[in-house]
């Protein structure tokens, strides 16, 4: 979805920023969005400060949107991992290149979702 959004917006997003915090995503407010999402997942004591930073950049409604999205995906990742779902057929053709690009074969859940050759 992120890659599709980048292509359709011709925005030149660097998808490696998803796995590497040192890479500039080229997304407006990207660092603040990333820090907020990661702090929520990790239960960081910095969440309040990072929320305030995010509000400064994207406004209160943008922060609420980010919180809703993060909360939704806290749910979706657990459903995927707890049910052991495989990759969708239509994802398989695009998966190999993306897996290599993001270097995510080492994720524990990879063996449940994807069979490596």
């Amino acid at each position: 979805m992120l890659r599709a959004s980048s292509k359709l917006n011709q925005s030149g997003i660097d998808i490696k920023a998803v796995v590497d915090g040192n890479v500039d995503s080229m997304i407006p407010a990207g660092p603040s969005l990333a820090s907020f999402a990661e702090a929520l997942v990790s239960r960081s004591s910095n969440l309040e400060r990072l929320r305030s930073n995010l509000v400064d950049e994207v406004g209160e409604q943008g922060m609420i949107e980010a919180a809703g999205t993060a909360a939704n995906f806290q749910r979706m990742v657990r459903i995927a991992d707890a049910i052991g779902i495989p990759l969708d057929d239509r994802s398989l053709s695009a998966a190999d290149a993306l897996i290599e690009e993001l270097d995510i074969k080492t994720f524990h859940s990879a063996s449940n979702t994807y069979r490596f050759d």
């Binding site: 990790s42 994207v58 609420i64 909360a71 979702t113």
Partner: protein, 244 residues
């Protein structure tokens, strides 16, 4: 009144309150396989798992982590273990672990509804943590019996539990994929308990995007751009080491 966001000082759009109230009503009601009292206990233990989150995630093996002092009375040890592990450390769940749960007597139908209850509570709680407000009180159980109906056409589609293909839904469930002739595996995941697919979509549309909005990449009427929304989603997935 649950989820009265207007009194929080945060301008939460009504769609969140509406969806969260519906989720709480479902949580308080008898499920397909669990009683309402058991569902509230599952919710309470999901919150209790936060007390051992770091211990579970940092242990060499999640199976050797010490569980928290339980706060419920209706759930057996296998179910408690599932709640704590799904809540705290989902990336290290495995088919072997799941098979062990089944061998210990956990029914696949109960497991699917369990996953749905855990993730509903965690998701709403995390929305509250995200915007910086207190967690909502858990609802009071509504009396009644579970319906106990298993879809007739559930089959092995590669997940640990059986799922239902869109073309083979029972008539009573034929709306769960919105009438679409395909559904991604993460939506099919809960289809062994069809009402939980409806519940998932209800929350998904309020907290993330509607199906119509998912096809809109440029002119999305939201406070964040589609790229910003997807970046947050991807970051959460990576932080959880979710491969899917």
């Amino acid at each position: 009144m649950y989820f009265d966001y207007q009194n929080t000082g945060v301008g939460v759009p009504d769609r969140f309150a509406d969806a969260h109230q519906r989720a709480w009503t479902r949580l308080a009601s008898p499920g397909m396989w669990w009683t309402s009292t058991e569902k509230i206990d599952i919710a309470a233990e999901t919150r209790n798992a936060e007390n051992v989150r770091d211990e579970y995630r940092n242990s060499l093996s999640p199976s050797i982590a010490d569980p928290p002092q339980k706060v419920s009375s209706t759930l057996d040890e296998s179910i408690l273990e599932a709640i704590y592990r799904i809540t705290t450390d989902p990336a290290r769940l495995s088919r072997d672990w799941f098979n062990t749960l089944i061998e210990r007597g956990v029914k696949d139908t109960h497991y699917v509804e369990l996953v749905s209850v855990i993730t509903t509570v965690l998701s709403i709680d995390d929305f509250h943590r995200g915007i910086g407000i207190d967690l909502e009180d858990l609802p009071t159980p509504i009396k009644g019996d579970p319906l106990r109906r298993r879809p007739t056409s559930a089959r092995d589609e590669g997940s640990w539990v059986n799922t239902v293909p869109p073309a083979q839904l029972d008539p009573v469930d034929d709306d769960i994929y919105g009438g679409r002739d395909s559904a991604p595996n993460v939506i099919r995941a809960l289809s062994l308990v069809p009402p939980e697919v409806r519940a998932l979509e209800d929350m998904h549309e309020a907290q993330y995007l509607t199906y119509a909005e998912m096809g809109e990449f440029v002119n999305l009427d939201r406070s964040l751009s589609r790229a910003q929304i997807e970046f947050v989603a991807a970051k959460v997935s990576v932080a959880n080491e979710c491969f899917y």
